[in-house]
């Protein structure tokens, strides 16, 4: 029997994986991929919560969690579009994809 706890444990693992990727990786593409992984971990948790916590009344299940996931996916897609454009311009201008090489936006 797969319970809510199993889903949440998996979600937490995936999230930690993404977080570590963001903090450790230097390649900007990989950092973005890690962010996507974190977003999907959150999506998984949302879907699981919806399935297990919302009471089933007849056949109709309130799909709030699922709908929210679609929003997340849409926003993530938009974010990736912007971020990839930034990454591409970064490479064209500075000839690098390492986030440590563009640390000149500071006080």
């Amino acid at each position: 029997m797969i319970t809510l706890e199993h889903y949440l444990a998996l979600s937490a693992m995936i999230f930690t994986l993404g977080l570590c990727g963001v903090m450790m990786r230097r390649n900007v593409i990989l950092v973005m991929m890690s962010i996507e992984i974190m977003l999907n971990a959150a999506n998984l948790a949302l879907v699981a919560f919806n399935r297990h916590l919302v009471p089933v009344a007849g056949a109709a299940v309130a799909p709030d969690g699922q709908v929210l996931v679609f929003f997340t996916i849409a926003v993530a897609a938009a974010e990736v579009a912007v971020a990839l454009a930034i990454a591409m311009l970064l490479f064209r201008r500075l000839d690098t994809v390492s986030v440590d090489d563009v640390a000149n936006l500071r006080w």
């Binding site: 977080l19 963001v22 450790m24 950092v31 986030v99 440590d100 563009v102 640390a103 500071r106």
Partner: protein, 649 residues
């Protein structure tokens, strides 16, 4: 039609300022036409008023503003009281306008002067015909502004600019109290006056106060009825505050200091504003709102004593001054004191009667002083002498004005001033003390003394400055013609309006029941002897000290031990000005310094600069965490979220 009384001078001021500055002739014509046009309208009411037996009234008003239930109206109320005041202001004012054409001839600001005069007429007429407190306050302040402009007419002269400021600031003190009083009365009218009538309407308020049992009703209750103020107490506080406005405008002690300095203005201004009309506005206001004071004997007693003291105080100072206009200014103060005192003693008619006759002879005296100054180019009476031969018309009219002021029968001053002296010798019980019964008579003696000291030094004796004497010449027709008219009024004005029937016609519709009836002076032997005795004492003393023979030389009087101190007291105006200067220099300046220190060190130093320092210091610390490294941000972000979760869970 009646609105034109206000509109004509206003239009004239506007036209002169905007269009006719270049043409002196046109400016003067406009101003004169406005004054005499308004005078004709006012005079057209005279027959109706004389047959109205005190019930004559013409009124109209329109709604100007409304805030919630409170309606502010602007209108005119022409009854006997405002009609006599209108005729005085416009009649004397019109004559002085004519005089000013001659006096200001050749002055580069000629048009500006007439614009100011018209503005003053508009402001003053607004006070006279106002039918509510709201309107009277607006015009009260407008009069203050016109007075400021006219005192400071020679604005390049430092002393004139300073005098204008002094007049304005001193009036501010009085007007502050006046405004508080008006606000109290406004507050009260809500419960007194039927809805629909304007806030502070004189007639509605007078009617409410006269209602039986009204005085015992509650005006204010604070703390759930633990502290209750009856209408009677409410009224006397409001009345005392309102009286502060009177003290400022009518220059009563201790707010009198501005009037002598106001003589820096051109002489026609001194005659019109600072002798005949504007300074009488306070007395007029007392008559108009006498219903506020009548219920409270305490308030009336205060008014009577302040007026009485001012009369005496100013007369003593006038005995030592040497500037011809200043002597007349202190004399004006003294006479205003008489009027205010008469109001306090319940003699509304007596006071208004004296106001009218005083306007005639004091305007005449000032215009005469203007002619003298015009002729010898100095204000100092010690440099004059023997001018009667050089200035016969001025001299003789001045002499008649002086006799009228001293109350010599049968001139106008006798009828009005002896009415007030009579009142003071038989005062109502609340003011029956030595001050009220003796000081006015002593003041009358002093009046004769200082006026004859002035006349003897100016017009008689040997010329003390031969050069000035040789160049003196009689004033042009523009100047002496109005003086002759005023002189006639100063002679016959007493009998003209002093009869019981006429005074009855000139009473106000806002007059509450219970005001003392004016007892006209019966010119029997005793009264005439009494008046002549007072006059003889003062004039005789002046003749002995300042006459051609100088029987008792003033230096010999000064030699008496103690007299020098008394002379210094009078000469320094009882040190009131010095006292105020001391207050400003030490008290006010130290308070200001303390406030400044609080501002500099606490407000600016601590709160304003401290706040900005805190922000900058925090910024300097936080800025170190902005490394530019994305990975470091992610770590910090994680730490922040973790910390938040830890705190919440």
């Amino acid at each position: 039609m009646n609105w034109l009384i206000l509109l004509l001078p206003l239009t004239s001021a506007f036209l002169i300022t905007c269009f006719t500055q270049k043409s002196k002739w046109l400016s003067a014509t406009l101003a004169l036409a406005a004054v005499w046009g308004a005078f004709a309208i006012a005079a057209s009411h005279l027959p109706a008023a004389l047959h109205g037996e005190g019930h004559f009234v013409v009124a109209d008003s329109f709604r100007w503003l409304s805030a919630g239930d409170t309606v502010f109206r602007y209108g005119f109320l022409i009854d006997g009281l405002s009609l006599i005041m209108l005729l005085v202001v416009l009649g004397v004012g019109g004559l002085i306008h004519i005089y000013a054409i001659g006096y200001m001839h050749g002055d580069p600001g000629f048009s500006r002067f007439f614009a100011y005069l018209s503005l003053f007429m508009f402001s003053m007429l607004g006070i006279v015909i106002a039918d509510n407190f709201f309107q009277i306050f607006i015009h009260w302040e407008l009069v203050g502004v016109s007075s400021y402009l006219l005192i400071g007419y020679y604005f390049r002269k430092d002393s004139a600019a300073a005098a204008a400021n002094k007049a304005f600031l001193t009036n501010r003190v009085g007007d502050f109290g006046f405004m508080l009083g008006i606000l109290m009365l406004f507050y009260a009218t809500k419960s007194w006056v039927a809805p629909g009538s304007g806030a502070g309407d004189f007639r509605a308020m007078a009617a409410a106060i006269s209602a039986p049992g009204w005085l015992e009703q509650t005006a204010m209750s604070i703390g759930g009825g633990r502290w209750i103020m009856t209408n009677e107490h409410f009224l006397w506080i409001a009345g005392a505050l309102t009286f502060m406005g009177v003290m400022g405008k009518s220059a009563q002690f201790p707010l009198h200091v501005w009037l002598p300095d106001a003589m820096e203005g051109p002489t026609p201004v001194s005659a019109l504003i600072h002798a005949a009309t504007m300074v009488a506005a306070g007395v007029f206001l007392l008559a108009r709102i006498f219903f506020v004071y009548l219920p409270s004997e305490t308030a009336l007693s205060i008014i009577a004593h302040i007026g009485c003291f001012t009369a005496f105080f100013a007369a003593t100072i006038a005995t030592t001054q040497n500037d011809i206009k200043r002597i007349l200014a202190f004399s004006t103060l003294s006479q205003l004191g008489y009027m205010v005192m008469a109001m306090g003693l319940g003699g509304v008619d007596a006071s208004m009667f004296h106001l009218t006759t005083h306007a005639f002879f004091k305007a005449l005296l000032f215009l005469g002083a203007g002619c003298v100054i015009h002729a010898v180019h100095t204000n100092d009476i010690r440099e004059m002498g023997g001018l009667l031969r050089k200035l016969p018309i001025t001299g003789w009219t001045f002499l008649i004005g002086t006799l009228a002021l001293c109350g010599v029968p049968p001139l106008s001053g006798f009828w009005s001033k002896d009415g007030i002296l009579h009142l003071s010798q038989h005062p109502p019980h609340y003011a029956h003390d030595w001050m009220i019964t003796t000081l006015p008579t002593i003041t009358a003696v002093l009046t004769s003394y200082y006026m004859f000291r002035l006349v003897l030094q100016t017009f008689f004796g040997k010329p003390r400055d031969q050069h000035r004497y040789d160049h003196a010449h009689e004033a042009p027709t523009w100047m002496w013609a109005p003086m002759v008219v005023l002189c006639v009024l100063a002679i016959i004005g007493g009998q003209l309006i002093g009869s019981p029937d006429t005074l009855e016609a000139f009473r106000t519709v806002t007059r509450p029941a219970g005001v003392m009836e004016f007892e006209p002076i019966h010119a029997d032997e005793q009264t005439i002897l009494h008046a002549l005795l007072i006059f003889g004492l003062g004039a005789g003393a002046a003749f002995a000290a300042w006459g051609p023979r100088r029987w008792i030389h003033p230096d010999r009087i000064l030699a008496i031990p103690g007299m020098r101190a008394v002379h210094a007291l009078f000469d320094n105006r009882w040190y009131v000005d010095d006292f105020y200067a001391w207050i400003v220099k030490y008290v006010q300046q130290n308070v200001a310094r303390a406030c400044n220190a609080f501002d500099q060190y606490v407000l600016i130093g601590f709160i304003v600069n401290g706040g900005s320092w805190l922000t900058r210091a925090t910024g300097a610390i936080v800025a170190r965490y902005q490394t530019g490294s994305v990975r470091a941000y992610a770590l910090l972000f994680l730490a922040g979220v973790a910390a938040l979760l830890a705190l919440n869970l």
